[in-house]
Symmetry: C2
Subunit: 598 residues, 2 copies
């Protein structure tokens, strides 16, 4: 159950696949260099391998426990979180202006992936805090920022997102939690929120809850939702929170979950008359009334992207375990009789198929997920406003794809990881079943894959009639042309052919969806929405794998050989799925005609 962070893969991406020079040339990045970025990541990797990786099996066996309103986390979490905070990792990707380290989002993303590979249920706490920092820095008042951001950046306080109620999951228009204005400008909140990750725990001095609630006489539906900040401890007269009153927000219970046992998933009661402050949890409005969902989306988009990193992370760890096992476990003779029997099982083609598919899916998704973080950095700091807008639009197109595709692929990868282990994979002590269990929530929380696909199609694809989608395709096709210039290279020609076929599938799919959208055939569009998301991820992953193979052209060292092999594997087992996806989309109108539940 050991794990090594894939440093050479990360370095390869930063050196050959990502346009790191453009990132370094951005204003505010004058003091950065590739060496510095890699040094920071290597330092993070050391911390994670030493401190975080060993927490993972413990987190599974010894979940967080609730006792009289107090949550005790997995043994080791508290000390490791203190070390994490001490080293300043929570501030890594946040602006220096608010007290962060000012490193690019890309670096935050890579560190985040590594943290989650170390122990996802542990990393979830800082992941959510990052998202809350993002929201407060964009939507908070100067006073709110001054008060709440420093302790979060220092890792002394953590943050949570409170959206879901029993009757309001994907449909937030049904949120009932009430916020009543008070004479002093604050609000009193009453309601119950469920599925609140790290809603209560013992890692930090204070917890800041971002809560979606409704004010009296607010409009119905999502236009009547406002966002409130509800601290677990309120400021003391002297501004000291640790000494302040306990707010009327309590954890009523923790869920017994399939995975992520180390992460306390709480039912939170607001205004249940238990606090020192009297009836109602005291909360502070963030931004303007009735714009709560808009602000919550800042948190949610950051969290969605971060969940994509969780998917990547566990996929990588699952692959790491599987290849280590396959190198060690000996069964049967290899078909070419090159090795003494019994041979390590990775000599059997089907085991290689599984291992390399795991690796190909992970590497392809990692490459376009990092690319998305790069887009975000470019969108934040490029001097030219219209270029900034270009990067931002493209980043927003990528967010649902990264979240949807990474979290779907990790289900496949972790399941393959079990399969490589044979019977041992089904035994909990082996540790690889935990990866599958932990990862199973990623395609659900922060918006299911269907919600991501709705976002991709409804908010991104059809709004510009496919312009962003097709501009990306043109870039993929220019990579196909680049591959074709290497006429002597069989692998590159093979990849070119298959990537080209996948591009045609994608182009057709965009056409179908735009057409049906114009024809007001909304049901047909959404019968094909998840297939389209998967198709887009498949093509974008293929694009990055092609670049990876190109970067290794003519090189025969072990690393390049491995990269070429993984790209060939992606072209063999993954890219052809584009054909199945486009046919699913093409058939959506027939599917709607014979729908059982329309």
């Amino acid at each position: 159950m050991s794990y090594r962070i894939p440093r050479s893969d990360i370095h390869f991406l930063l050196e050959h696949i990502i346009d790191t020079p453009a990132l370094l040339a951005l204003p505010g990045h004058e003091e950065l260099s590739l060496d510095l970025l890699q040094a920071v990541l290597d330092e993070g990797a050391r911390f994670i391998e030493q401190e975080v990786v060993p927490l993972n099996p413990v987190s599974d066996r010894e979940p967080a426990v609730l006792n009289q309103g107090q949550v005790t986390t997995t043994p080791g979490f508290k000390e490791t979180f203190a070390a994490f905070a001490q080293a300043g990792w929570q501030g890594l990707q946040h602006e220096e202006a608010i007290g962060g380290q000012g490193l690019p989002k890309l670096i935050g993303a890579i560190f985040g992936e590594n943290m989650n590979a170390g122990c996802a249920s542990f990393a979830l706490c800082s992941l959510l805090t990052d998202s809350v920092i993002e929201t407060l820095s964009q939507a908070g008042t100067p006073e709110q920022k001054a008060c709440y951001l420093p302790p979060m950046l220092e890792g002394r306080w953590t943050g949570t997102m409170n959206l879901t109620e029993a009757q309001a999951g994907s449909d937030l228009s049904l949120v009932k939690c009430m916020a009543t204005p008070q004479a002093d400008g604050s609000y009193r909140l009453q309601g119950e929120k469920i599925f609140i990750s790290y809603g209560e725990h013992d890692l930090a001095e204070n917890i800041l809850h971002l809560v979606l609630a409704r004010t009296p006489n607010a409009p119905e539906g999502i236009r009547g939702l406002s966002l409130f900040l509800v601290p677990k401890y309120l400021a003391h007269a002297q501004g000291d929170y640790a000494q302040g009153s306990r707010n009327d927000v309590y954890c009523a219970s923790l869920e017994h979950k399939l995975g992520l046992h180390g992460s306390p998933t709480a039912v939170m009661l607001y205004g249940d008359n238990k606090g020192e402050v009297g009836a109602g949890a005291i909360g502070y409005l963030i931004g303007e009334l009735n714009r709560g969902l808009e602000y919550m989306f800042i948190t949610m988009n950051a969290a969605r992207y971060a969940v994509a990193l969780q998917g990547l992370a566990i996929a990588d760890r699952a692959w790491y375990s599987a290849q280590a096992y396959a190198a060690e476990r000996k069964q049967g003779a290899d078909l070419n009789k090159k090795y003494p029997a019994p041979a390590p099982i990775y000599h059997h083609p089907d085991v290689e198929r599984m291992l390399q598919t795991m690796r190909a899916l992970t590497e392809a998704t990692r490459a376009f997920t990092y690319y998305a973080a790069w887009l975000k950095d470019m969108a934040l700091k490029t001097p030219d406003a219209s270029l900034r807008q270009h990067y931002q639009t493209r980043y927003e197109f990528f967010v649902p794809i990264t979240k949807g595709f990474a979290t779907e692929m990790v289900k496949e990868v972790t399941s393959l990881g079990i399969q490589v282990h044979g019977g041992m994979g089904f035994i909990e002590e082996t540790g690889v079943a935990q990866y599958m269990r932990d990862a199973r929530v990623f395609s659900i929380y922060e918006g299911t894959t269907a919600i991501q696909a709705n976002d991709l199609i409804g908010r991104k694809l059809v709004r510009d009639t496919g312009e962003t989608a097709l501009a990306l395709l043109a870039e993929v096709q220019s990579t196909v042309e680049q591959l074709r210039t290497h006429a002597e290279d069989e692998a590159l020609q093979y990849i070119a052919e298959r990537l080209d076929q996948a591009c045609s599938a994608y182009a057709k799919a965009v056409q179908y969806i735009n057409q049906w959208h114009q024809d007001k055939q909304a049901r047909a569009v959404y019968f094909g929405s998840v297939p389209f998301l998967m198709l887009a991820g498949t093509v974008l992953g293929g694009w990055k794998m092609a670049k990876s193979a190109l970067a290794c052209t003519g090189q025969e060292d072990e690393f390049s050989t491995q990269k070429r092999s993984t790209a060939v594997c992606y072209a063999t087992y993954v890219l052809p799925r584009a054909q199945a996806h486009v046919q699913a989309i093409a058939g959506s109108k027939v599917m709607d005609t014979y729908s059982l539940y329309s």
Copy 2:
């Protein structure tokens, strides 16, 4: 967590899809009728729904426990097994000549599916006993049959399969367990077997272990393996086993598994000097020396087919839970605004896509899995010997496909079942995560999917250069022609087109594999073996779904409408995967060229 056995689907299959008249016309079936078969199945369904279904959540929370060599099973198992035995269900599919009920294998298969849907970890005990009965009736001496079969058929004794050792899983040539001949004709066994399902338990008076072991000076590898029967209790002088000596076979530990918690998975020690019989477990040779694997394959083939039923079973139960939840859970407005908001979530196209894909995969796999059982019955009882051989060959072609495809598809179906439940799916109390956990071992035990694919290609496909494979294809294509005669029926034309495309993919795949086999490109063949198995299952499922749609032509009742919709769904989301599979197979030679581990 309730569950209703899909009686109307089963009746539909028996009445319209399976050639039940041919089955009823077989010699020995003179007293059977369709009504009788359905009555037996309905009686079984009542028993299962009342007694077995409620065990399932308990089996997950309260696993079997080992204490001082004794295993106590989940509360309720013992009483329910007694009721099962009492009613004679263990003998259902076995010949009257040996004390069974003499019903067709098809009926045993359907009952087996239903039992596993009720509680798979409970059903596993009788499933294995069925397989051991099969082996002893084929390979035992008359004395062995007389002694061991009746108590097994009465459900008083149960059976196990002991193949795996720590170093010998898929590779049985590495089995070390030793059997030393004794003067009285018996053997003394010494060795350790792992992953022995129901190796020890409290459901029966005695346990009969079938054990693969090696005799002194036997040839190396699999040709030196013999099969032994090792009873937990030996015959008393008066032939009474319950009073007999405790044999030297003990359960050393139980595994802590991802799923199937109710099934005790034992490490078994043979000849560890603990018994009343002195050193060495007393065992009796089955059949001839060194032909053990051949006999074990009788058990294993029966068990492999039965594991396909387990896959079907849990897929059906997962679908049942998901559709019930989707009908009840209300979120968001439906796109056509036909229903009051919030509407039941199955009105959202993506939820219907998931539900109907679950159902389509399950129904398609069920149809060809039952067809395989029908083939087995025809192979056993058809008067004409060459026809018997024809059915047997085809049955053997189907076994690895049913086992591989059903156990792969159940992973997808159970995971979709969680997805339909959203956040609730991740909460263990909901009960649907258990389906995914339980089902995860089906593609591993009794031979992994790769082992099934090896069998399909190495023993079935290339031996007759694709003759059986292509004869089947011709039948599928004649169904395509039948669909085409209904030119006015849009759904049937749509299914015809897509099934035809899938047939082309299958034909191409057979050609590739035969060619590479001839060219001695074994590694290329086996890089495509699992994709070929999945392709074959996809096409055969499509064939049966087409027949199902044909049987409903022109009918507009609710049941027929549902069947048509499911067939359209299969054509939309499942059949197109054939294109991805054939491309994976087509690319296998390139994959081998760039292999990392060749």
